[in-house]
Point group: C2
Chain length 325, copies 2
């Protein structure tokens, strides 16, 4: 196992390279798919990086492994802790299992049964709490005080950011053409900030841009106002993107990402349907946000070679957003 040094500042090119090397035993090198019929519709050449095929079904595995490998052996032995109702919970639980250390996950009472079952299946101890930020934090604090486990933040952590960056590194390396643009969705900004760094360090040409649901447009407002904005309500089908930016992710995104495209809920669902029906792969609604942006702004993306990050595939097939539209 490759140990990694802690990261106290924005990861540099060497940090990302060694991170990619170190997390290798924890992640798949996911495939890049293309689809002629979606290309035709978009008027562009799209290269989909399929993190829905990643371990635990989402890119979050990369960041969790990168952060865990940066803990000292003494700290790591006490275990990993986090709060999440989604993919990050599964990622932390799975990484801990592979490292042979305990995992303590705080989840809301109303978390999807399948996600709770998956986290339990990886051998993690679950603490349930009410679904408010304050109660989540307080439950986590208690778990950490009791166990001495290390808290792994879902995104606002340079180790996590370095891990998420490896996704775009592979996208750049495994695509046979030179990409003009790389587009990722933005929630807490771990993936987007890592993608921005990877684009800067490993592609001379690619511009990294983001897509966000208009219903939770905090990131778009944040890069305009120059400070972290939040959302009044967070109702979007793209449930992975409801979070606000963190200090570290905002700092990187504010510096390096100049374009964030907003899309409506119906556009997200239509793009998700397009991916399901044409590509025959299962992706989360969050994944469809970048494709929705590309289809909405043909003047911006036409004839480009575009890397599109598909973030994950953990959906509840009993509750799909499609209707007879």
């Amino acid at each position: 196992m490759i140990e990694l040094p802690p990261l106290y500042q924005v990861p540099n090119q060497a940090d990302l390279l060694v991170t990619h090397e170190a997390i290798h035993p924890f992640v798949h090198r996911t495939p890049i798919l293309t689809n002629a019929s979606i290309d035709e519709k978009a008027g562009a050449s799209l290269f989909f990086k399929c993190e829905n095929f990643q371990r635990i079904g989402a890119f979050k595995m990369r960041g969790a492994a990168s952060a865990a490998l940066r803990l000292s052996p003494q700290l790591r032995e006490r275990g990993l802790a986090t709060h999440s109702s989604g993919n990050h919970a599964q990622a932390v639980a799975r990484v801990a299992q592979q490292l042979g250390v305990p995992a303590y996950i705080v989840m809301p009472h109303d978390a999807p049964r399948v996600k709770v079952a998956a986290v339990k299946g990886y051998g993690a101890e679950i603490t349930f709490c009410n679904n408010t930020p304050a109660e989540r934090q307080s439950a986590l604090d208690k778990v950490v005080a009791r166990t001495g486990a290390a808290f792994i933040h879902p995104f606002d952590d340079y180790g996590v950011i370095a891990g998420q960056a490896t996704c775009a590194m592979e996208l750049i390396e495994d695509t046979d053409v030179v990409l003009d643009t790389i587009i990722a969705p933005v929630g807490g900004g771990g993936l987007l900030s890592g993608t921005a760094l990877a684009g800067r360090y490993f592609s001379r040409r690619a511009v990294v841009v983001a897509a966000e649901p208009a219903a939770v447009d905090d990131a778009a407002r944040s890069i305009l106002s120059g400070r972290i904005e939040s959302n009044e309500v967070n109702l979007t089908v793209a449930d992975g993107l409801r979070t606000n930016l963190g200090e570290r992710t905002f700092d990187i995104i504010h510096r390096y990402v100049k374009e964030i495209y907003l899309v409506e809920e119906a556009e997200i669902i239509a793009a998700m349907r397009l991916i399901w029906e044409r590509m025959k792969i299962i992706v989360e609604p969050s994944c469809a946000v970048p494709l929705a942006a590309i289809l909405k702004h043909p003047e911006r993306f036409r004839k480009q070679k575009i890397g599109v990050i598909l973030t994950g595939g953990n959906v509840d097939v009993d509750r799909l957003p499609f209707g007879d539209d």
Copy 2:
């Protein structure tokens, strides 16, 4: 374009090799996926040949191309005709489009809108009819009489069988291990008979077996009785498997396939859910029938290396068979 000679008897090894070469411009060489968590559940090593990623979303493209390339140029120019409400309709329409010849497709009035739209999208002329075998045949006869187009049978045609065989040829060639068993679903038997031939000619070890919904167990009864049996009713979620065998497919299957495993509807849906949730790919219910059989008969399949043909991914995402079970 490679022209193929007509086939008047069971294709031999050379026939299959030249067919594979000839249909190359019409089909994708689809990937073979594995999944650690399904392997664990099955107690076996499964190699999924993903024809859901095939052009038009199903293996039917192989047989249609193989049959069309066996027509004389004069015949071919008059166009291709068939009756089908499913993947074969799309395959014939798409092959005709690529060959630059007309396609005439007879479809029932109640065919799924998306399939009708797809066939139209490939430029085919559609004739609607009532959904009974007699009316379908009569509508097709009229179309053929009017246009002189060549009828391409969905399965009972040696050209079609040779095309479907190329799927297992690739599965055998592209799998790094020596397969013990290859399993395919059986409806009309085009895929299964082709798979049986490919197994015989290109694998010294692999036994080709079949899986069939218990609700439409005509093929299993046919290999027992030694003649083509039919179903009283044909209600199964695996809508691609409702058909009876044809003379040519029965002849091959009766000779070379000794095991047909029957599975219940709930087992099919559970296996389909497993593929969707674990592999994150979209497959038709018919695809799940072989996996359901493997899970149902662990004593038969345990510790084996098994090639599993996933036949297609054309499902209506608005009407999925999953419930809150």
